[in-house]
Symmetry: none
Subunit: 224 residues, 2 copies
DNA sequence: CCGCTTTGTCACCGGGCGGTAACCGGGGCG
DNA sequence: CGCCCCGGTTACCGCCCGGTGACAAAGCGG
């Protein structure tokens, strides 16, 4: 389940992202309106969380543009006391709104309700090239080989890698996505997870063909 | 299809009632919380529409009480700007919500979606592959074997599993479906229920062929 | 009120998941 | 040349998870 979080306030973006990540969602972030539109087009998220006040293109414009060719659920973020903005947002096709400040619990409850209502809940399979990741089954199928069972952590790792297939994903992003925190000492965790995952999915774990390392940067998934 | 509308505002109640009646639903009305509970018990509606602000018993109490022994879809009505109330409602087991004012069209669309999702339109017998579940008889027939008597909980568990035959259903969903939103952390209940059910339906309960576990995720039913 | 069935709770076990440390080998650099 | 940083690998171990048995509590029909 992919969620796009668009907000120019870095702290808020991180908080929202963290909350959703911990709840098992795959989070994509954007810092401004144009970035948000780009991400919607590229990543086809299942839910979009939009701050109204953003540089680039305002939340309104973004919302309107998205609605031109998508019915993806949109949740708007506003500051208290901007009722008329709110009404306008709803008229532009937003599905729900949240006034800052809000608690993580609130956010989660509303997000879940939106996804449930949209009926997007069932489709939890992410695929790219020869790889197919099923979040419900906790399994990964490569080409026509029988699916491989994954643990929770392996699944999370692959979610982010597969969503960025072909591109290198930094160790920090992986750490945050999988464990929810970063730190130099935690490198070992990632090392281990990658190693164990390679034992499972690589034909020859010593010379990885799929889960490749980008020295000094991170890892990337090769799906071709 | 029976719908209960509970709201202390007579005008709103009538409007909602009228909308639903026109759409072909059988509408029951209640003006306060206690009346709502009474009606739920007496009439067993297929959908409950609850205003949060009501005399008698608040929408929360009503919602919670209903959820103690029923999983009938519940839609909450709120006025704009009561975020935390809303969250509480969703956490208490409400399925959807609507902020006043809303259009009749919206109301209808949401109500239909809820009923569809609840699968209330289906018959009392559910079958897939070699398995046939009869909700009235509380029995499960596998292939040509004589039907097996089921308890209430076993029946509910199988309902959800059979409706998603072949796919993994998460432990959380099962817990909510069977016990109705309490003990969302109580894996023990599910563990036991599965164990007991396996004793009944599996040829060799130690190596399940039908009710299989998806480690770290949930359970799934194999109907082939 | 009794007895049976159903359901909730507790305790235990075995296996695997995941965190931690230590070691190895290679490449960059002083 | 030797140091050290980085990533891979091996090993160990605590703990969580799922399965199981036993028993208490609750529900229900006679």
């Amino acid at each position: 389940m992919k969620v796009l979080v668009a907000d120019d306030d870095r702290d808020l973006r991180d908080l929202v992202g963290f909350t959703l990540t911990q709840a098992g969602y795959l989070v994509i972030k954007a810092a401004d309106g144009t970035g948000a539109l780009q991400s919607v087009a590229d990543e086809a998220p299942d839910l979009v969380i939009l701050d109204i006040n953003m540089p680039g293109a305002s939340g309104f414009q973004v919302c309107q543009t998205i609605r031109r060719d998508s019915r993806v659920p949109i949740m708007m973020l506003t500051v208290r006391g901007e009722e008329e903005d709110l009404v306008r947002a709803l008229e532009l096709g937003a599905d729900d709104y949240l006034t800052k400040p809000f608690s993580p619990r609130t956010l989660l409850a509303r997000a879940k309700a939106l996804l449930r209502r949209a009926g997007t809940e069932g489709a939890s399979v992410l695929s790219n090239g020869r790889m197919r990741l099923d979040a419900d089954e906790h399994s990964l199928a490569i080409a026509d080989a029988p699916p491989i069972r994954l643990t929770k952590l392996e699944l999370r790792l692959l979610q982010l890698l597969l969503a960025n297939a072909g591109r290198t994903v930094s160790s920090d992003r992986l750490l945050i996505h999988v464990w929810g925190h970063r730190g130099s000492g935690d490198r070992q965790l990632l090392k281990q997870l990658v190693h164990r995952l390679r034992q499972k999915i690589e034909r020859d774990p010593a010379t990885p063909q799929i889960l490749q390392t980008a020295a000094g940067a991170g890892y990337k998934l090769v799906t071709e």
